[in-house]
Amino acid sequence: MLLREVGYARPGSLGEAIELLAADDGARALAGGQTLINVMKARAGSPDALVDLAGIEELRGIELGADGTLEIGAMTTYTELVASGEARARPIIGEVCAQIADVQVRNRGTIGGNLCTSDPTNHLPPLMAALGARMTIQGAGGERTVPASEFFLGVYMTAVAPGELLTKITVPAGRGDGFAAVTLGVEGTCIASAAASVDGGVTIALGCVDAIPVVLQPASTDDDAVREAVREANLDPPSDVHASSEYRTHLAEVLAVRAVNQARS
């Protein structure tokens, strides 16, 4: 419950934030804090300094391009995504965000934080992977864009290097999406999850079965093809108190089918 001593800064601009992060490899960006502060409470991780992104306007807002492309600022909260008219261009985003944790967490937690935390039980890594989102990362050296498929490197690890920030998530146009999960209690933590998109080919991203989302591209949307694709992935999910590796492997198959069927309907 009690944090180790930590430094804090609240920069007003992106440039300042990146400077502060680059100045100390022990510094971490503080977005909504709904994971980071808990980890610090457990003293399971202790940044030397927190760079609070709350004051940076550039990181907020949702824009819908003429071609239906969504550009979502990394500091956009789940609540903002649920309420956003623009975000309805890709309805699954609001639907899934509405299932994350609870009102309080949705009011503080951000899409950028959810992705950068890269906790295997998070909802958005598999969803963004399935939607083919692109992540814009900014550092001292400038800006680069990384596809979701290359963004996640491991638990709590992403392509965002020390001294860099995830600034924007770009989601291409589309509507044929689905998401299915078995959670701990109703709308609780994911035990296993699957996101699917059938816009231009079939893409499935499985959550909770590995450190990062497992992305699959089955031959078709048929149940059998989907099940086949999951089996061929030779998943070796972690076991924990909520699910054996065998159970998670099975759920991955069931949920992939459900996500694809939702995406088709």
Partner: protein, 152 residues
């Protein structure tokens, strides 16, 4: 938790063995090493900061070689004490010749306790796998470097 695997190095067994038994080059394979003290060829200590995305995990890690059959087998007993965690690990590797290089069969029994444990098993197993992969690829680099160095 038990993790194990195999890895083939495009290098002669002697080179691989050399790296695995040289604390200095082993140090280069460990994640986030900040300092390293060699007590004798059987015991050494590393101060590491395992780079977790949410802030590093500082640990003092004592390693002791408990068994050795050069140039094929060694077992290490590793104890880590950190603020967030207690690590205890027994790891062993066995080297064998295969065409094109050396096959290393390795296994580790990892026990992690303390606040980090309270973060939930769901993240621990992937984190351990992650760090193991890190060590193995670093090992690869070290072996290649050793081979290159030896050639030069």
């Amino acid at each position: 938790m038990n993790v194990s695997g195999e890895r083939t190095f495009a290098a002669p067994r002697s080179a691989v063995w050399g790296v695995l038994n040289d604390p200095a080059s082993m140090a280069k394979t460990m994640p986030g090493v900040e300092s390293f003290d060699i007590h004798d060829e059987l015991r050494w200590t590393a101060n590491v900061k395992i780079p977790l995305g949410l802030g590093g995990l500082k640990m003092k890690i004592d390693m002791a070689k408990t068994e050795e059959r050069a140039p094929e087998y060694a077992q290490l007993n590793i104890k880590g004490q950190g603020v967030g965690a207690m690590l205890s690990m027994i790891t062993s590797f066995e080297l064998g010749d295969v065409d094109g290089g050396t096959l290393m069969k390795w296994a580790a029994d990892v026990k992690l306790a303390g606040p980090v444990g309270s973060m939930g098993q769901r993240v621990l197993q992937p984190i351990v796998n992650q760090q193991v992969q890190h060590v193995l690829s670093a090992l690869d680099r070290e072996v290649q470097a050793a081979v290159a160095g030896g050639a030069a």
